[in-house]
Subunit: 358 residues, 2 copies
Amino acid sequence: MEHEPSGAPAPEPRPGKPMLRALAGEAVWPPPLWLMRQAGRYLPEYRAIRQEAGDFIALCTAPELAAEVTLQPIRRFGMDGAILFSDILMVPWAMGQPLRFAEGEGPVLEPLRTAAAIDALDPARCAPRAAPIMETVRLVRGALDTHAPRVTLIGFAGSPFTVACYMVEGHGSRDFATARLMAFEEPAMFGRLIRTLIEATTQYLLAQLEAGAEALMLFDSWAGLLPPSQFRRWVIEPTAEIVRQIRKTNATVPIIGFPRLAGPMLAEYAQRTGVQCLGIDTTMDLRWAASAVRPDQALQGNLDPLSLIAGGAALEAETRTILGAMRGRPYVFNLGHGIEKVTPPEHVAALVRLVRTG
Amino acid sequence: MEHEPSGAPAPEPRPGKPMLRALAGEAVWPPPLWLMRQAGRYLPEYRAIRQEAGDFIALCTAPELAAEVTLQPIRRFGMDGAILFSDILMVPWAMGQPLRFAEGEGPVLEPLRTAAAIDALDPARCAPRAAPIMETVRLVRGALDTHAPRVTLIGFAGSPFTVACYMVEGHGSRDFATARLMAFEEPAMFGRLIRTLIEATTQYLLAQLEAGAEALMLFDSWAGLLPPSQFRRWVIEPTAEIVRQIRKTNATVPIIGFPRLAGPMLAEYAQRTGVQCLGIDTTMDLRWAASAVRPDQALQGNLDPLSLIAGGAALEAETRTILGAMRGRPYVFNLGHGIEKVTPPEHVAALVRLVRTG
């Protein structure tokens, strides 16, 4: 399954997986590459499996199928990272909060609005229900070890604040006003929810590591909704706590933090959470991001997924700007937001060629 | 109509309107205050007039009624700034693009998708249809001069990028993907739309100045959707051009730029557009913003409107943090986003007292 670098000069074989080397602070060039939501609806082979599985949760909890869709973009494009196919809401689902993915309207949870409902959550219930997800991790790791030994397996979870947003609101939202208002009006209650999520998320990520994940990513998609004082309390502190807890068991696993739309708060997040790598959203100038983090902290991002739909000159110009800004520092090429389902797969192939030829 | 400062010590009467002095670079304290969307649905007296007017466009183009709602929050709370009651989409409406405000779903425009439709737009058609809006400005200015001589009249427009987003998309959107994709795929065509808007917006703002506006604000609510290269091209350059054009006629009028969610790009926006004041959204640390602009450039913002719904301890803590960060520099107190319709008016009154007691 190891990819043919499609016309580009092959990178010099050096010891270690390229993505792990970049996450460890090495300026690997051309940079390792993967794309958020690289396993997904823009791929016909994904749509075929999705149809076979039935609903989305069934797919996430069917290890053979979930492993297959995880591996599809590795096979097709030769990405340097394979991210576990799952969803950030599988943690609340595993803790027993009713969840479904409604066609065209995204996730729907039974909203959590009372102290009693929050206190009833039990992180210990998470592990047994999440067992099939760990089996997926084992299957993917086995396949990569055999067929694609240069590819890094990335485990992930949602960060407590973002997951809490969905748990309280009950569905996606432009501003998650109900959840954020709870944080303002009932900080003790919201804080208990966050602490429960810190515990459940830590255990969930440690289980992924044990099953074979080699790097971890924490998605905080809605971090950017918060004013600075709240960002410190609900984003930086919980993330720092998860990182500390994981390091007690595994001192070296690289952790990627992605506080989407953090803006200038990125600097404080990078310093205080201790993550090895910062995911950067589409809006941020990567040169600014580089000035805001330690030189050994890797950056990951931040091509606009719309430029990948556009393709052609726009894609090439945006990609070259990013590569120019990141050359010479630890860096992982990625989008700044998940790939869109209308993306032509051949544009992804063109992007991979562009990045590999530097 | 001059307000009673409701329990707070009266500020020492000094020459000049407090808000104009702050915009000119003076560290006025307590800071002048107004709130984005301060004239709006959270006020019962607004809802009464809105019902009388019929639809939203009718209200925006009925000078007596629009002037009345502009003045309502001045009368009730004694704000230091009165912002013209209107909408950023009145410019495309005045240029002839069909627009309606649908109950509960926001603005609906006939979407602009072709080069022919863009080329057919004529900025010169704007002035006659916008005449009632200028009459509103004259009425408000007259009322303020007579009854509230310390209150600054703020005119405004949407910035070309944000207005173009609505014109192309045809309605509000989480990501304005159609408009942003046009910018990537058809930059020449999108650029013609932006140039038309630069011309129309400049004329529209100059007409407001002539009618009596004393400060101007450019709302770029969706600026934060753009990656840096596109932010420079579609946000910074058009704004800088409008500022240059206005300064040819009026060298001194203070202009407030509000590139919402600009993040670290704020620094470059502040430097290159030449605006006197930067509107800051809820997510940004004001101390960081202060470090990113010239010391004589005023800041305006950035209380989270949700903390104003919450009231009580959350409102007080957030307000004191902001005041602590801004004391000693030119600053205008405001929200970081428009006031929400469920906001209790008594929380607004409490906020005004808090700010006035410093």
